[in-house]
Symmetry: D3
Amino acid sequence: MGIHAYFRSLDVLDRIIRCPGKFKFEEHSVAAHSWKVVQYAKTFADIEEQQGAVIDWKKLYRITSSHDYGEIFIGDIKTPVKHSSMQLRTLLQRVEEGMIHNFIEEHIPREFKAIFQEQLREGKDQSTEGLILEAADKLDQVYEAFSELQRGNTEKEFVSMYRHALLKIRSIPLKCVDYFFDSILPDLVSEESMSPVDIRKITEEALASAPLPSPSRPHTA
Amino acid sequence: MGIHAYFRSLDVLDRIIRCPGKFKFEEHSVAAHSWKVVQYAKTFADIEEQQGAVIDWKKLYRITSSHDYGEIFIGDIKTPVKHSSMQLRTLLQRVEEGMIHNFIEEHIPREFKAIFQEQLREGKDQSTEGLILEAADKLDQVYEAFSELQRGNTEKEFVSMYRHALLKIRSIPLKCVDYFFDSILPDLVSEESMSPVDIRKITEEALASAPLPSPSRPHTA
Amino acid sequence: MGIHAYFRSLDVLDRIIRCPGKFKFEEHSVAAHSWKVVQYAKTFADIEEQQGAVIDWKKLYRITSSHDYGEIFIGDIKTPVKHSSMQLRTLLQRVEEGMIHNFIEEHIPREFKAIFQEQLREGKDQSTEGLILEAADKLDQVYEAFSELQRGNTEKEFVSMYRHALLKIRSIPLKCVDYFFDSILPDLVSEESMSPVDIRKITEEALASAPLPSPSRPHTA
Amino acid sequence: MGIHAYFRSLDVLDRIIRCPGKFKFEEHSVAAHSWKVVQYAKTFADIEEQQGAVIDWKKLYRITSSHDYGEIFIGDIKTPVKHSSMQLRTLLQRVEEGMIHNFIEEHIPREFKAIFQEQLREGKDQSTEGLILEAADKLDQVYEAFSELQRGNTEKEFVSMYRHALLKIRSIPLKCVDYFFDSILPDLVSEESMSPVDIRKITEEALASAPLPSPSRPHTA
Amino acid sequence: MGIHAYFRSLDVLDRIIRCPGKFKFEEHSVAAHSWKVVQYAKTFADIEEQQGAVIDWKKLYRITSSHDYGEIFIGDIKTPVKHSSMQLRTLLQRVEEGMIHNFIEEHIPREFKAIFQEQLREGKDQSTEGLILEAADKLDQVYEAFSELQRGNTEKEFVSMYRHALLKIRSIPLKCVDYFFDSILPDLVSEESMSPVDIRKITEEALASAPLPSPSRPHTA
Amino acid sequence: MGIHAYFRSLDVLDRIIRCPGKFKFEEHSVAAHSWKVVQYAKTFADIEEQQGAVIDWKKLYRITSSHDYGEIFIGDIKTPVKHSSMQLRTLLQRVEEGMIHNFIEEHIPREFKAIFQEQLREGKDQSTEGLILEAADKLDQVYEAFSELQRGNTEKEFVSMYRHALLKIRSIPLKCVDYFFDSILPDLVSEESMSPVDIRKITEEALASAPLPSPSRPHTA
C-alpha cells in the first residue's frame, strides 16, 4: 500500500464520536472536532502574529491538521482512565506511538516516512505553535460543553469539562489567550441564553477558583 | 448515594456503541449486546444441564448480567491496543478494578458491598459458568460479524472478527459448544444469503486453519 | 431450522423502539430495556434474599431474560389499546401465545421444546420471582420517564408513565419494594436536576393520591 | 381543545417508522408514506379520469390525506397479527374506530364533527376513489420493498411484501392499474440494478403464480 | 422512462431535511412537511367552504400535493439567499421552472405532459386555493418553530420563523385565517408548556408589531 | 459581537450534510469533509515541495481551512443548479461574497477585518496553493463516491461524481497530481472490493474518455 492507506483511514475519525456514554443533545465526530481546532488555531496564530510573534505556519499546519490521528489506533479511552496513573498514561502513549510507527513502516513510501513521522507525533510541545494547538484543542471543549449547558443538558460532566478547559486555557502563556479572555469569552457568556443552567455563574466560579496570574505570565512574543 | 447510582449508570452502556470507528450497516449498544449474551448463556446452560452438568444458576445470572459493566469506567479500548502488551493489559485491568472498587465504596450501601463486588468483577473463570459466559460473549461477535458480511460489508475486520470468535468458541471444553458446532452453526451458514461475501468458505477456512481438537478435549460434565 | 432461528431473532428486539410516536430526547430499544430489567431484578432478588426470602434463581433468570420476547410477534401495541377492552386484551394475548407456540413447533428441536415453552411464556405470576419481574419492569418505566422529565420533555405521557409505574410498584408486596421506596427513590428524586419540571412534586402527588398501604401489606418472605 | 389538537397530533405519524423490527437500509415514517400515497393516488386518478372515469376529487382528497391516521391510536401492529384471526381484526378495527370517535367527541368543535367523522374513517371502499387509495397504498409497499431489494437487503420479508403488494394491485379493477402493469412496472423492473437480488425474476414469478385475469376484469369506467 | 421516474423521485424529498444547519431537537423531511400541509389545507378548505366559499377540490389537491416538488431540482437554498436580491430570486425560479420543464419533457409520456405541467408549477396564486396553500405552508412553520421553542431550543431563528409565519398568515384574506386566529392559535399558545421560552409573549409581541387589519380585509367568499 | 460569532458559527457546517437528497450508506458533514481536504492538501503540498515547488504554507493553511465556509450563508445548492447558467452562478457568488462581507463588517473587530477578508474569499486561484486546494477538494469526492460504490450503492450519481472528480483532478497541472495517478489511485482501485459495481472498469472508462495530456502539461515547479 501507500499514501492511499492514510487517506482512506481518515473516515475512521468521522465515525468516532466524542464523549461516548454521555447523554448529549448534539454529537460531534473526532473529524469535525479536528476541523474546528484547525480553525481556532488559525485565528489564534493570526492574533499572536499581530502581537509580534513569529509563527511557523508549516509547523502549525502540520501539528493541528493531524492532532488526534492517534485515536484511530487507540480508540476513545475515557479521560479519568488516561489520568489514573502516570505509568498507564506513559504505557498508552508508547503503544500509540508504536502503532503509528508500524503504520508508517508498513504503508508510507520511503520518501515520505520522515514527513509522516513529524506529522503524526504529538504536537503539543512548548513552542508557540504547540501552545496554540493546546489552547485550540481546549477551546473546542469549552464550546462543546457550553452548547450542551445552554440547551439544558444536566449532566455534571459538561460543567466539569467547561471549567477544566477554561482553566487549562488560562494557564497557557500566549497573547491570544489574553485576547480570548478579554474579548471572546465575554461574548460567549453574554450570548442570550434561555438555559436553566447559569453559565455566567459557572464561568465566574471557575475563574475565581484560581486567581488570574496574568501580570506575572511571561509571553513568548 | 446508593443503589440508585448503580441503576442510573446502566444507561451509559446503552450509549456506548460497539466497534467504534468501523463502518457498519447496523449499530449495537453494549446494553443490547449484554442482553443477547444473557440469552445465549441461558440456552447454553440449558444444553449443558441436559447433558448432565450441574449449573449454578445464581452465579450464571450474576456473571452474565453485568459482564461488560466495567466499560462504563474504561470506555471502549480497541482490541489491538488491549492486546499490544501484557503489561498494558494488566495495568488496564487493574485500573478498571480500581474504579469498580471506588464506585462500590462510594455508592453501594455497606450491606450490599459484598454482593456488588462479586457481581462486578470479571466472571470469565474456568468454571462451567465462566466458560459459558466466554462462549456466549464470543457468539455475539459471530452474529454481529455474520450480519455485516451477509449485508455486503466489505471491511476486513468483520471477516477477522468472525474467524477469531469461531475459533475461540471451539477451544472451549463444553458440551454446548459441541452442540453449537453440530446443530447451530450449520443453520447459520446455510441461511439463504444473497451476500457477495462467501460466508461458507470463510467459515470452512477458519475452521480448517486450526484442526478440530475435539477428541482430546476434556469435558466438564 | 433450530436454535439458530431463536438466536437470530433477538436482533429484532434491538430494532423495536419503546414508546413509538412520542417525542423523546433519548430512544431505548426493547433489547436494551430487557437488559436493564435483568439488572434491576438481580438486585431486587438480592435484597429479597437478604431479607430472608428464598429465590429460585433459575426461574428468575428464565423469566427475566425473555420477558418481552413476545413483542417480536405482536409488535408494539399502544397501552391504551391493550387496555381498551378485556376481550381484546385476552384475544391479543392468545394470538401472541399461539405465535410463540408455532415458533417453538417450527424451529425448536424436540429436546428443547419444553424449556422454550417455559421460557417464552408470560412470567409475571404471583410467585416472588414473578413479582420481582413485575417490579423491575415498571422500574424501567420510572427511569425512562424520569430521564425525559429531567431533560425538559414536556409530553404529558411521561408524567403519566412515571406516576402509574410508581403506583404499580408500590402495590407489589415485596421487601425490596419497601427498600426501593425507603432508600432508592429518595436519591432519584433529590438528584440535582435543572429540569423545568418539578419531579419532586409529581412524585409526592403520585404517592399521595393513593396513601401508602404499607403497614397492612402482607409480605411473601 | 379544538382543531389545534388534530393539527398537533400529525407529528406523531412522523415519528412512527414503518416495518418496525426489520432491518432496512432506509427508514420511512408513516407521514412520509402518507404523502407518497397522496401523490400516487393523484396520478392514478388522472389516468382513470383520462380513460373516462368520473373522479370525486373532494372525496379522493379526504380519504387519501388521512388514510393512516388511525395508527396514532392503535400503533403499529404487525401484519400477521392483524390477520391472525377475523375476530381479532374486527375487534381491533372497532377499538380504532372507538378511539377516533372519542377523539372527535373530545376535541373537534361541533360544526366540524361530521367532516372529521367522514375524513377519519376507513376510506378503502369499492368506489373508484376507494380502489385508487387501495392501489396507491400498496404501490408504496412495492416501492419500499423494491428499494431495499435493489440495495441488497436479504430479509425475506421484503421479497414477500413486494410479491403480495403486486398481486393485490393486480386484483383491483381499474384502468390505471392496467396502465401501471403496462407502462410503469416495466420501467421499475428494468431500472439498472446492481443488486444481488434478481428483481425481474421475483416479479415474473409473483405474476406467474396467479395468471393475469385481465380479460375478464370488469372496469369501472 | 415514464411516470416511474416521477414516482421514484419522491423519496428524494424524504431525504431532504428542512432548516439545514440549524440545531433542532426534531428533524422534519420535506416529504413529511408536505403531508402536513396537505392536512392543514384540507381543514382550511373545509372551514372556507362552510363559510360559503366554493372550493375547486381538484385544483386544491393538485397544488397542495406537489407544492415543494421543485426542491428536488434546486435543493435547499437558505431563505436569506432567496430574498437577497429580486434578480437572483427571479433567476432561481426560472432555473427551477426550466428543470421541471426538462424533467417533464424527458420522462413524462405525451398524454400526461399537460397534467404534470399544471401539477408541478408554483400553486401559490391569488385564488382561494392558492391562498389556502400559502396559509397551510406557513402554518407548518408555526408548528415546527413552536415545537422547538416549547422544548427549549434557544436558536433565535425559530423565534424569528414563528413570528414571520404568523404575520404572513394574518395577511391572507381568508375566513379560515380568521378562524385560525380566533379558535386555533389560542389553544396552541395555552398548551401547557414547561419551556423556558415565553411563547405567549412572543406571540403577543409578533401580533402587536403589526396591528390586526381585520376589519378592512376583503374576503374572497 | 466579535470573533466569538465566527467560532460559534462553525458548528453550522457540522450540521450540513453533503449530497442532500441522495441515498447514501454513510453521511458526511461539510465540517468533516473540510478536515479531510485539509489533510489531502497537506500531503499534496508535501509532495509538491519535495518535487521542488515552493509552498506558501500560511496561504495554504488559510485557504484550505475555510474553503467551504460560504455554505453557512448560501446553504447547499445542487450542482446542476449552480452550473445551469453563467449568470446565475455569477449572481450566487456575488450574493455569497456580499453575505461574507456583511458578516465581517458586523462581527469581526476592525484589526482582524483584513485577515478574515483574505481567509473567507474563494481560494481556488491559479497559484500552486489554489490548485492544490482544487485537487484536494475533488479528491474527497473521489473517496466519498468510491466508498458508496464499494458498498453497493446503485445511485448513478455516485458513478458520475467519481468520474467527474477524477477527470477534474487530472486536468490540474501539478506534480502531486501525477503522483496521485501513478501511486495512489492504483492502490485505491485494487483495494479488495466485494462490491457488485466494477470500480476498475468505471475508472478505466473515465480515464479513457479523455486521453492523458500529461506530456504537454506545464508544471508549476
